[in-house]
């Protein structure tokens, strides 16, 4: 193998996170809550409870002259800004880089049609990142087990931005929420919002987000029901008041 192809291979290997057995939080970004992350294992779609869904959302970026790499650079840099209200993302200082943790605070609705109200503090690990895509992997306790890939690509002369998730609900509580409490619709609307926000940043408005859903595996994995022990929503409800109180006290001293 030539030295340049060997160097190329080494460079592409760096697109992947280094192997870890459990997440380790070295620094918490300003404003973020470090909860449901430290010591957690990462979860692939194989370790979740609910049916395995592959959902693909994409939007055409008509008339945008920026390259896919340039668009992705903006997406990574401004990732938190493109989220709907109530969804707070806090990348680490290093940003969207392989192995880094993105802290997340969001709220989920206790009932369909109600405004979101239940806090969920957790995060995701950047599993993979290159110049036109990045993939995040969820930890134990996160509502979903699996991966979300964000990508920008050219196809037949048009540029597209895409979010693709391959996930299962992590435990029976979250599966119930996704299936009966509007969770799936809320999640789908969130990713559609993100793509429209990204498009609007590049002055593309009025485009519809195209969405496809494929149920890769309809089976419930009852052996993974024990994941509920790490349920981030339940633990957030228990620990969040203490975290917030601690913040207030630290702010005053």
């Amino acid at each position: 193998m030539s030295s340049s192809s060997s160097e190329d291979e080494k460079s592409r290997e760096k697109s992947w996170a280094r192997p870890i057995s459990r997440l380790s939080v070295t620094e918490t970004p300003a404003g973020a809550i470090n909860l449901n992350l430290e010591g957690r294992q990462v979860m692939s779609p194989l370790q979740g409870f609910g049916p395995l869904w592959q959902k693909t959302y994409r939007i055409p970026l008509q008339g945008v002259t920026a390259t896919p790499a340039e668009i992705m650079a903006v997406w990574k840099e401004r990732f938190p800004e493109f989220q709907p209200a109530g969804n707070h993302f806090y990348p680490s200082v290093a940003g969207v880089q392989p192995g880094e943790i993105i802290f997340i605070e969001s709220t989920v609705s206790p009932r369909p049609g109600l405004l979101p109200g239940i806090p969920v503090a957790s995060g995701v690990m950047v599993l993979y990142a290159d110049d036109v895509s990045f993939t995040v992997m969820t930890p134990q306790g996160f509502p979903e087990s699996g991966w979300n890939t964000f990508s920008v690509y050219s196809h037949e002369g048009e540029t597209w931005a895409q979010v693709q998730s391959m996930c299962r609900a992590t435990d029976p509580v979250f599966e119930f929420g996704f299936r009966f409490m509007g969770g799936s619709r809320f999640q789908e609307e969130t990713w559609q919002y993100v793509l429209r926000s990204l498009a609007a940043h590049f002055e593309v408005t009025g485009e519809q987000v195209q969405m496809t859903r494929v149920c890769v595996d309809p089976k419930l994995q009852w052996s993974q029901a024990r994941n509920v022990w790490h349920n981030a929503m339940i633990r957030s409800m228990i620990y969040m008041p203490f975290h917030l109180a601690r913040r207030v006290v630290r702010g005053k001293t």
């Binding site: 870890i20 779609p45 194989l46 993979y128 895509s133 890769v216």
Partner: protein, 118 residues
């Protein structure tokens, strides 16, 4: 030699119950049709083991790993075992990181994978 977005998959039938898919090139999202077509060729009613040969893998990204999950589900649905050999140390680590190694047996050689297939 495969181009950047090209992957070639060859299917070898070892016996009635075991098939090997030789992967040449890059496994990315573009490889979906090739991989699924190869699986269709490799699998029949008597197939119990599908072995993936990664010896000639040039590169795999996260979309490629996602394809392996889909392949695994298809195999499991047919009560087939999915095994792999020929992964570099880097990609063995990736299989550990993504926890695919918990469902796909990883071996150092074709011979070892065939022994494991039984």
């Amino acid at each position: 030699m495969s181009s950047a977005k090209e992957v070639i998959m060859n299917v070898r039938k070892v016996d009635e119950t075991t098939s090997i898919i030789d992967i040449h090139g890059e496994v990315t999202g573009y490889a979906e049709n090739a991989l699924m077509d190869a699986y269709t060729q490799a699998s029949n009613q008597k197939t119990r083991n599908i072995i993936l040969n990664f010896s000639d893998l040039v590169y795999m990204n996260s979309s490629g790993i996602g394809l392996l999950v889909t392949l695994l589900i298809r195999a499991q649905r047919q009560k087939q075992l999915l095994l792999a050999y020929g992964l570099s140390e880097h990609y063995k680590e990736i299989f550990e990181l993504t926890r695919l190694n918990e469902a796909i047996g990883i071996y150092d050689s074709e011979a070892e994978s065939l022994v494991a297939a039984g």
